[in-house]
């Protein structure tokens, strides 16, 4: 869309224009800019390189300015895709993701994406169009109260009533989204605010008296934690997404290695600690490893860092880590004590707290505890049965893991595909696992992969999908093809909504109510119809060669793996059961 390499903002090109104390002035007088232009200037000031969006009537002024702005716009095929792509971009890069939708249905289509980002604490800034201020509240065409709707699923939101407030609001929105516990912020822009004019100054600071996140842990509490670690016989680190988002992986590794503390991660924390590390216990919880769950049950000190004791982690809460003192490090004070008792609370940023802890720790070996962990590992090795009527789905993930050396960015959909990936992909570095942990949003992985790929153009990005989930945002194939976004999609196709079917098998007498996907399309033909590549894999010996070929393709590829139809995810902690009461399943 851009036609040259120079700045081509019409106002910037005007001769005699200059910036005076942050205000654009022409011949001594401040210049008025349109709201839509102010928005784009603010995005540039925030160093936003890409926005994901879908146009419509109420955002026409914004799209008109975007037409020749120095910001890349990715046209998705459904606004939900825009929100997930912005989310995936943010998770892959650590920078805020930005999406735009029009008023009414455009805005409501963002809702699932915003809720996903909110539950997983991802910095996303969403702009929605709104009917003109004079039309608000009259059930106007394409009017929806999106600030009301998104109040419980955003960290904060704004309805901008005047163009002169716009720059301040955008500054605040980016600040709120990216600081403290990150999260999505929505800005609702009535059409007359985008069209209206105001002087433009991008504020350098924000004035939010009610918002002061705590980054540094209390020194006394950190000392207390250091003492507790020195005194513990069987400590376990239980780490979550906060370690990834604060960039605390190196500090975590140092603490774990200095003190020989085994590390169990949540789903969100998986990439924070290398799977192959001798101190790694993998994931804990409902589909966690047997050894992680046993280690947590036996530990005498549980050090939770950037994790929130989700019910999928704790199982029956009364018997979670029953022998342990609990230290809880979190930047969000409301998380401490929300679900479980605590002995050592530390409010602060995971990285800063761990870095402050390191100098207070001696090095220590724990041969007895590690020997006990080793017996847990022997008793509960990860393992799976050979595929009965198809490829073992776990085998596909193992092959992807080997072939990519654990260095790809992996996204997943939700369900069995997600849990098997968590169990069998061997992660090496943070921000390489992107999954909807809290909300559990089917249809997340593919658009998130598109966002991740745009943020990390040199990385290999693979969406490990189910045949059910993939169809929830399959339309984004058009986006991937239009922009040549080379994401690879590996569908573990079992013709079922596999995780729900597994629960029906185990808890509802195999009554497979509404979980049979007999109407599945030919995924290869679908991919080709969109202009992508498609591969169908029906036998185990074809898995590796097809993966090699597909991952080497320069464009988007869909791989359709015919997996064993009734393969289950094991081990499994039945709902409301203690996490040491795992079902081993068939091997």
């Amino acid at each position: 869309m851009n036609s040259g390499g120079t700045a081509r903002h019409p106002l910037v090109l005007t001769p005699g224009l200059r910036v005076d104390e942050g205000v654009l002035v022409l011949g001594g007088l401040p210049v008025e800019m349109r709201g839509a232009e102010i928005l784009i200037e603010c995005l540039k000031a925030e160093k936003v390189e890409v926005v994901f969006g879908y146009p419509g009537g109420a955002v026409l002024p914004i799209y008109d300015v975007l037409y020749d702005a120095d910001i890349r716009h990715i046209l998705v095929r459904h606004e939900q895709g825009a929100a997930h792509a912005a989310d995936g971009y943010a998770r892959a890069t650590g920078r805020p993701g930005v999406c735009i939708a029009t008023s009414g249905p455009g805005a409501t289509n963002l809702v699932t994406g915003l809720a996903t980002a909110y539950m997983d604490s991802v910095p996303v800034v969403a702009f929605t169009g709104q009917v003109a201020t004079s039309m608000i509240g009259r059930d106007s065409f394409q009017e929806a109260d999106i600030t009301g709707i998104t109040m419980p699923i955003t960290k904060h939101n704004y309805l901008v009533k005047s163009t002169k407030d716009l720059a301040r609001v955008i500054k605040e929105a980016f600040h709120i989204a990216t600081t403290g516990r990150p999260g999505p912020v929505l800005i609702d822009l009535p059409k007359d605010v985008s069209n209206g004019t105001a002087e433009f100054t991008y504020p350098e600071t924000v004035d939010l008296p009610g918002y002061k996140p705590t980054y540094d842990g209390h020194p006394k509490q950190i000392k207390e934690l250091a003492r507790a670690i020195e005194a513990a016989q069987r400590p376990v680190l239980y780490v979550g997404g906060g370690v990834v988002s604060s960039g605390a992986s190196d500090a975590l590794r140092k603490v774990a290695e200095m003190q020989e503390i085994p590390v169990a991660t949540t789903l969100m924390g998986l990439s924070a600690f290398p799977t192959a590390h001798p101190l790694s216990l993998g994931m804990l919880g409902m589909h966690g490893t047997g050894y992680a769950n046993l280690a947590v049950t036996e530990c005498d000190l549980l050090i939770a860092v950037g994790a929130r004791f989700d019910d999928r982690v704790t199982g029956k809460i009364e018997t979670f880590a029953p022998k342990a003192r609990v230290a809880h490090v979190d930047i969000d004070p409301a998380e401490i004590g929300k679900n479980v008792r605590f002995d050592i609370p530390i409010v602060g940023d995971a990285k800063r707290v761990l870095e402050a802890l390191i100098p207070q720790l001696e090095t220590k070996t724990r041969p007895e505890w590690l020997a006990q962990i080793a017996t847990f590992k022997n008793e509960w090795p990860l393992g799976y049965a050979k595929g009965r009527d198809g490829i073992a789905p776990q085998y596909v993930i193992e092959q992807i893991s080997e072939l990519t050396k654990g260095e790809a960015i992996i996204t997943t959909e939700v369900g069995q595909n997600q849990m098997w990936t968590a169990q069998y992909y061997r992660f090496k570095q943070p921000r390489s696992f992107i999954t909807s942990g809290g909300l559990g949003t089917m249809g997340f992985g593919f658009p998130a992969a598109i966002g991740a790929q745009i943020g990390q153009p040199n990385r290999l990005v693979i969406d490990i999908a189910g045949d059910g989930s993939f169809q929830m945002n399959i339309q984004e194939l058009a986006t991937a093809v239009q922009y040549g976004i080379p994401v690879k999609i590996a569908i573990l196709n079992n013709g079922y909504l596999g995780m729900v079917r597994q629960w029906q098998e185990m808890f509802h007498n195999k009554r497979y109510s509404a979980t049979v996907l007999s109407g599945n399309p030919n995924f290869v033909a679908i991919a080709e119809a969109y202009g992508a590549k498609g591969f169908r894999v029906e036998s185990e010996d074809q898995v590796r060669p097809v993966l090699e070929q597909a991952l080497a393709e320069p464009g988007p590829v869909v791989m359709d793996f015919a997996v064993s139809r009734e393969a289950n995810v094991f081990p499994m902690v039945p709902p409301n059961e203690s996490i040491n009461m795992m079902v081993r399943g068939d091997r």
Binding site: G148, M151, K155, H156, L159, G210, A334, G337, K338
Partner: protein, 160 residues
């Protein structure tokens, strides 16, 4: 479970009441009463919220409230020496026959008669919750046509 009084300073922004009320409802906290009005600084409002909660729930309420960007400060003034006031308007059915009786009751409570019609009387009363409850109790036999209460506002005594 205990009744707590929270005095909350918030930005005087559109939607701030919805944010606070929505937070209480979606996290399953119960508001007994809520009164809101602007402070001496026009951009800041004070909410006086009365909740019934155990200690753990109260801690969660406080922490979750703090997360709202528009919430500036929360004080639990339950155990502070303070003045509690609520205003109520009570419309009672009354005619010439029992009017003087009703006036007497109102007088004892130092309530004001703010409207008298042929078949009704409106009483305005201020005081703490217990006083208003007592007056409501005493006027009920005459027939309460309508009752409006503002919800409690509180102020800590002394220079604190």
């Amino acid at each position: 479970m205990m009744k707590h009084t929270l005095s909350v300073l918030v930005m005087n922004q559109p939607g701030v009441l919805a944010r606070v009320a929505g937070l209480f409802s979606r996290r399953g906290f119960n508001i007994e009463s809520l009164a809101v009005g602007v402070t001496d600084e026009p951009n800041i409002s004070r909410m006086t919220i009365q909740v019934e909660a155990d200690d753990a729930t109260l801690e969660q309420i406080t922490k979750q409230l703090h997360k709202l960007i528009d919430v500036i400060k929360i004080s639990d003034i339950t155990t502070d020496e303070r003045v509690d006031r609520e205003l109520a308007l009570i419309k009672i059915s009354g005619d010439a026959a029992n009017r003087s009786e009703i006036l007497q009751v109102a007088d004892i409570f130092r309530a004001k008669i703010v409207d008298v019609a042929e078949k009704s009387i409106v009483i305005e009363v201020t005081g703490d919750e217990a006083k208003i409850d007592a007056l409501v109790q005493l006027t009920r036999p005459y027939g309460i046509i309508e009752l409006v209460r503002t919800g409690k506002i509180s102020m800590v005594r002394g220079s604190k």
